[in-house]
């Protein structure tokens, strides 16, 4: 017990120390990333003056919202089927195909999706040159797996009594879904969408394969900048990304907590 707890503390320090360093040095006045010369917000100013980064951030946001929504629809239908349909033909194959993107190396997904889009362009002249649409499809192709896992876990944790009772009382299947299943699923849908959104915002490898010349995303800009060397501007951007994530998670946790409190206060 004791040694395990020390490893846990050491592990958490290991996880957070590098992020803390980036955060602190984003306020460094010096261009040299490792020499502290004084507090400054210069790099934040330069960051917001960088049109290339702003355009890429815009692209990333559009793709993340659309792909997370698409992934939620597909992931939910798969999760629903796995949790409620019992055995059906090809269940094992579909389970495998839905779970594969969780572990499949990104380079494999990237090259195979690009070859798909090239083939579609050759055959149907669809999406010539590629762009945001190919990014949306490519991102949803792996984020839907996470949504499916979350939805299935949520549905397996709830019993079907309510759904069956509603059906017994004469509710049509769609009414049962809308009035019982969907509200029950809401927390899973919210966290699934949020996870898909964040994974999409973060994707570099798959995006690099399928993006068109006009659809550079934020991680692609960050990556080429990091490859050239460390830049204090990237520290500032990294800090903003960390703060946004923390704020989103805190909001999600707060909403969850207040809902629990409300429920606890109900007689």
């Amino acid at each position: 017990m004791k040694p395990a707890r020390s490893v846990l503390i050491a592990g958490l320090i290991f996880l957070y120390l590098p992020l803390l360093v980036v955060l602190i040095y984003s306020f460094n006045a010096s261009r040299l990333v490792t020499v502290w010369t004084g507090f400054s917000t210069t790099w934040y100013g330069e960051l917001f003056a960088d049109r290339q980064i702003l355009a890429a951030a815009g692209n990333s946001l559009i793709v993340a919202v659309l792909s997370a929504s698409l992934a939620t629809v597909i992931g939910t239908s798969a999760g629903l089927a796995f949790a409620r349909f019992g055995s059906f033909r090809g269940r094992a194959l579909l389970t495998g195909a839905m779970a594969a993107p969780l572990v499949l190396p990104e380079v494999i997904a990237g090259i195979s999706l690009l070859l798909l889009f090239v083939a579609l362009e050759q055959t149907f002249d669809w999406m010539p040159g590629r762009g945001l649409t190919t990014l949306v499809i490519a991102h949803a192709s792996f984020t839907m797996s996470y949504v499916a896992v979350i939805v299935q876990a949520r549905l397996s944790g709830t019993d079907r009594d309510l759904e069956e009772a509603a059906a017994d009382l004469g509710a049509k299947p769609f009414t049962v879904f809308r009035a019982i299943t969907l509200p029950m699923l809401r927390p899973a849908l919210v966290s699934g969408w949020l996870l898909a959104f964040i994974l999409s915002l973060d994707d570099l490898v798959i995006s690099s394969f399928v993006a068109g010349p006009q659809s550079t995303t934020l991680p692609m800009v960050v990556f080429s900048s990091i490859r050239l060397g460390v830049s204090p501007k990237i520290n500032a951007l990294a800090t903003i990304l960390i703060v946004i994530t923390l704020a989103a998670l805190a909001a999600a946790a707060w909403i969850g907590l207040s809902r629990q409190k409300r429920r606890a206060l109900q007689p």
Binding site: A4, V7, L8, G11, L12, F14, L15, Y16, P18, L19, V21, V22, Y25, L32, V33, T34, V73, S77, A78, A81, F88, G90, A92, L94, T95, A97, M98, A99, A100, P101, L102, V103, L104, P105, V107, I108, I111, S112, L115, L116, V118, I137, A138, S156, P173, D202, L204, V205, F209, P219, V222, F223, I226, R227, N235, A238, L241, I242, T245, L249
Partner: protein, 295 residues
């Protein structure tokens, strides 16, 4: 709508989707791995030979595969990737198991918070996390300057651009994937079993080895596969933290594709990588299937 029609409709969505974005693309990779690179759009030869639009034969070559087995670079890169991924997985397990264990044994009201703390870095940008280690490990980075200020070293240590740095990056990036399935398993473990072992005179270590560890094995397996499989094909970490001597297949694939524009060879590299990963992926699927059947 009858219930059978409805079921078919709900099932059609994921089936069509995985056919479009998983099965079809992988078949295309296989097809193009038999083509020849050429300067055209797209940069590979047609699969079917045509005369006046009529298919007269197929043009397939095994040259890409032959090259991969004759040039030591590729074999070395596959072996190097598996080795680095395996070492990283073991380190992640040795670090992640006690972490998951401590969380599972913490007071129930604290578990959620601790789990969030472990998962939080996973929600922040992957590139930012790798970048953070770059700033720490560089010759002019914080660790080296701290050691020099303390007088422990005279010249900066070479930490970045080494195989060790790649392992560190992989452990750092994938640690949450190790902790989560381990925790899920350890949390379900009935404490009465350990009490029974203690009552029967087992020392804590003995009880751990003969009760806790065997019961947590499915979690160990799931965690290891979640780290090992993607790590074998990792591109970003070896690119940013590895040196020219750190050969990994994800990097080779990227170079063939983007720098040499040899799509057929990159496809062949992908096919072999998939073959290397087939056994671990099947194992992962089996573990997943068992976990979803017995909640």
């Amino acid at each position: 709508m009858t219930s059978a029609v409805r079921r078919r409709f709900v099932l059609a969505i994921p089936w069509l989707w995985v056919t479009l974005v998983l099965f079809a693309p992988l078949l295309l990779v296989l097809k193009i791995s038999f083509a020849t690179a050429q300067i055209s759009v797209p940069p590979y030869s047609e699969f079917f030979a045509r005369t006046d639009g009529v298919i007269v034969g197929i043009q397939a070559t095994l040259a890409n595969y032959a090259l991969m087995f004759s040039d030591a670079l590729y074999v070395k890169a596959y072996l190097g990737s598996v080795k680095i991924a395996a070492i990283s997985t073991v380190i992640a397990l040795l670090l992640g198991y006690p972490m998951a264990y401590a969380i599972a044994r913490a007071r129930p009201e604290r578990r959620g918070l601790l789990l969030v703390l472990v998962m939080l870095p996973f929600w922040t940008s992957f590139l930012v996390r790798i970048y953070a280690w770059q700033t720490l490990l560089r010759p002019t980075g914080l660790i080296n300057s701290a050691l020099e200020t303390l007088g422990l070293i005279d010249a900066p240590l070479r930490m970045l651009n080494t195989p060790g740095a790649v392992c560190l990056g992989i452990v750092y990036a994938y640690l949450p994937f190790m902790v989560l399935p381990l925790y899920a398993r350890l949390e379900k473990l009935d404490p009465a079993l350990l009490e029974a072992a203690a009552d029967l005179g087992a020392k804590p270590w003995r009880a751990f080895l003969s009760v806790t560890l065997p019961l947590s094995l499915p979690g160990v397996l799931a965690g290891c596969l979640l780290v090992f499989i993607p790590a074998v094909g990792e591109y970003v970490i070896p690119e940013l933290m590895g040196g020219p001597d750190t050969l990994m297949i994800g990097k080779i694939l990227w170079t063939e594709f983007f720098n040499n524009r040899d799509w057929p060879l990159a496809s062949a590299v992908t096919v072999i990588l998939l073959i290397v990963l087939v056994a671990p992926i099947m194992l992962f699927q089996a573990v997943q299937a068992r976990a979803s059947r017995s909640p």
